[in-house]
Amino acid sequence: MEKNSRPNWDNPMQFIMACVSYAVGLGNVWRFPYLCQMHGGGGFLIPYLIMLVLEGVPLFYMELAIGQKMRLGSIGAWAAISPYLGGVGFASVVTSLYLCLYYNIINAWSFWYLFHSFQPVLPWAVCPVNSNLTGPLEECERATPTQYFFYRETLNISPSIDEKGSIHTGQALCLLLAWVMVYLFVVRGVKSTGKVVYFTATFPYLVLLVYLIRGVTLHGAINGLKYMFTPKMEHLANPITWINAATQIFFSLGLGFGSLIAFASYNEYNNNFERQAIVVSAINSGTSIFASIVTFAIYGFKATINYESCLERMRLLMLNGFDLAEDTINIEDVLDWMVKLNSTYPDKFAGLADRVETCSLENELNTAVEGTGLAFIVYSEAIKNMPLSQFWSVLYFFMLLLLGMGSMLGNITAIITPLRDFKVISRNMSNEVFNGLVCLFLFLLGLSFSTPPGNYWFTMFNDYAANFSLLFVVLIEIITVSYIYGIKRFEKDIEDMLGHRPNWFWKIMWAVVSPLLLISLFLFYIINYIQGGTATYQAWDKEQGKSVVREYPVYGQVFIGLLLVSSVSCVPITALHAWYKKRAHGKRNRQRTINTVSL
C-alpha cells in the first residue's frame, strides 16, 4: 500500500549526489586549508590520507550498511539492533538538532553577503564616512573595512556575551529566507531532496574550477601555493597533527549525525553501497585538497597585496618624513632605504618610529584563519582587490550557499527521518506539515543568534555542541556493531544485501583499528577539555578594532555543560528505560503464569 511503503531515491546516482552534497560542505573550504597551514603544508596530507583509510571509509561504510539494512532512521535502526542502545539514535537526533540550529545562520550570512554584492562598490571595500563627513568611522579606521562590515553591519556584535539587544532585522530576514529555502528542498521528503542534490553537489565544483583558474592567475598567488606545498615534515612528529587529521576526517564525512543512516534508508535493498562509500569518501577528500589549492592561491594574493600596501605606506612615510623626491625610493628598495635612513638620521627616524611597521610576507602568510573568519573576512578582502569584484563576490557567496544548503539537507533529513518513523507522527501529519513545523521551530529558536551577542552563542554551539557527543556516538556505534550485534551477523547482513561478504580489511578496521582510534580521540578530547581551564571565546572590541579573548561567564559554562550532557545522556537514559521496561514486562509474565498455576 502506498501509505506504508517507504519512499526511495529515483536512482542510485541521487543517493551518491546526496551523500556528496552532504559531506562536501563548508568544512572542506575553510577548515581543511587552515589545518594544512597549521600542520606543515603538503605534509599534512600524509596523516590525513592515513586516517581516511583507517577510520573514515570503514565508519562511512558501516553507517550506510546499517541504514540500508534497517530501512529506518537512526532511532529505529539502533533500537532494532539492540533495544538498550536505541539512545544512540536519540543522541544523534539531538546533536543534529543543535547543528541545524546554528548551521543555517552561516547560510543566512552567505545570503546577506550575496545580496550586498549587487552594488557598484562592494560595501566591505571602503569604510563608511562618519557623521561630520571629515573622515572614515573610527571603528572602521582602527580595524579594516572587511572586519567592520562583518562585525558591525552584518552582526552588530556586542562587546561581550553578557549584553542584551534587539534582533538585527536584516539577519532575521536572511535567516527566514534560509529556512524557507530548506523547507522548499525537503517539503516532499526524499522526492524533492533527490532532485535538488544534483545541483547542490555539482555546481560548487564548477565555481571552484573557475576560482582555481582566476586564483592561480592572480598576482602573488604563487607565494601562497609555494607556502602550502613546501612540506614541513617536522610537524608529523607532533601528535596534535595526527589527532587533528583524525578529527577532520571524522567531521568532514559527517559521521554520527544520523544523516548517512537516513539517506541510506531510502535505498533499494540491494544497492551496492560498498563502492559508493569508497567513491564518496574519495570525492570528499579530493574536494578538500582541491579547495585548499584555491584557498591558498587566494591567500597568497591577499598576503602579497597586504605586503605591498605595507611597503607602499612605508615608502610614503620615508618620502614624507625626510622630504625626498618622489622617485628616489621605489617599492623594491623600501626596506634598504629604511635601513639607510635609520643609520644616517637616527633621531629623525626615531621620531617616526610609532608609524613604522615591519612588512613581512612571511608574517602575512602565517596568519592562519579558520572558520567564519576565513570565509567572510579574509576571502571578501581578497575579492575586493580583484578586478570585476562584484562578479567574483556573487560567485563565491553563491558557492558557499550551495555548500551550506547541501549540508543542511543532510542535517535536516537526520532529524525528519527518524521522527517520521514513529507511527504517531506519520499517521497524523502529512510530510509537508511535519517538515514545515520542524523548520518553523528551528527558525524561531535560531532567531536568538541574530541578537548582538548572538555570534558568541553561535561560537559556543560551533565549538561544543557537536564534537564531543559525536565522538561518543560513533564510538558506541562501532562497539555495538562489532561486539554487541556481532561482526558475524553484520557480515551476513551485508552478504544478504550485496551478494558478497566484506573482506578481511573491513573486518579488522571495524573490530580493532577504528575503535582504538576513536577511544584515543575520545580520551584526548576529555583530557584537553579538563586541562584547558575555563572556556574562552574571542570577543570583538570596538575600541581597539580587534578581537580579544574573554572567559565565558558562569551561565555560559553551565550551558556548555548542558549541551554536552543533553545529547550524551540519551544513551544511558534510554538503556535504563529499556531495561526497566523489560523487567516490568518479565514480572508481569511471571505473575500471569503463577496465577494460572495456582488456579
Binding site: M1, K3, N4, K69, M70, A80, I81, S82, F111, W112, L114, F115, H116, F118, Q119, P128, V129, L133, T134, G135, G170, L173, C174, L176, L177, V180, M181, Y183, L184, V187, R188, S192, L319, N320, D323, L324, A325, E326, D327, T328, E432, R489, K492, D496
Partner: protein, 217 residues
Amino acid sequence: MLGKTLFLLCLASALSEPLCLKDTSDGYKVRISIKTALGDEAYEWNENEMFLFRATLAFAMRRYFNREDFNVSSILVCDETPRVSFWFVVVSPQNASQLIDKADVENAIRMSRHRINSAFLLTDSTLEFIGIPPTYAAPVNPATPPWLIVFGVVMGAVCAGIIGLLVSTVLKKKGLTEDENDEEEAQDKAVENGIACEDLDGVYNRAFPDDERLTKM
C-alpha cells in the same frame, strides 16, 4: 608702472622672509605627489607650476572673500623640498605685513578644493594640505537598499516554488481520493480473509537472526 610693481614685489619678498617660515602657525604645508597620481604622464614641478599654484590660491581667496584684490603676490611660499612640499602663507592685499587668519585660509581652500585639484590634475590625496582634511562626499542613501530588492526577488521565487509544490500535492491527493472512492463504490470493500487490507501490517523482526549457514540439527 612696471618699475613700481617690481619695486613693490621686491619689497614684499624682502619683508616676507620673516612672514613665511617652516612650521609657521598661520600657514599650511602643502605636499604634492605628481608621480603617484599621474605615473608616466607626470609633469615636472618647476617655477611655472609654482606660479600656477599661487595664482590658484589667490583665486580661492578672491572667491571666498568675494573681493577682487588678491594677487599672486599675496601668496608667499617657502621651504620648498625635493619631495615637492612647501609652506605658504597668505598676506592681506592691503597690508603686506599682515597675514590672513588661518581659519579663513582653510575655509577658502575648502570651498575651492575641487578647482585647485583640477588645475593640477590631482586629487585630495595627492595634493595634500597638511591640517585640512578632505571633505568626503555625503553617502548616497537610496530609498530602498539594493540588497532588500534582491532579497525580495529571491524570497518571492522560493515562496512561489513552495506554494506550487504544495498546491500540486493537494491536487494530486484530491485526484487520488476521488479515484479510490470510485473504485470502492465499484468493488464494495477490498477485503482479504475478513481483514481489511490496511490492517495487514506485519512487522518484520530484523533483530532475529537469519538462518545460520550451517543449521544445527
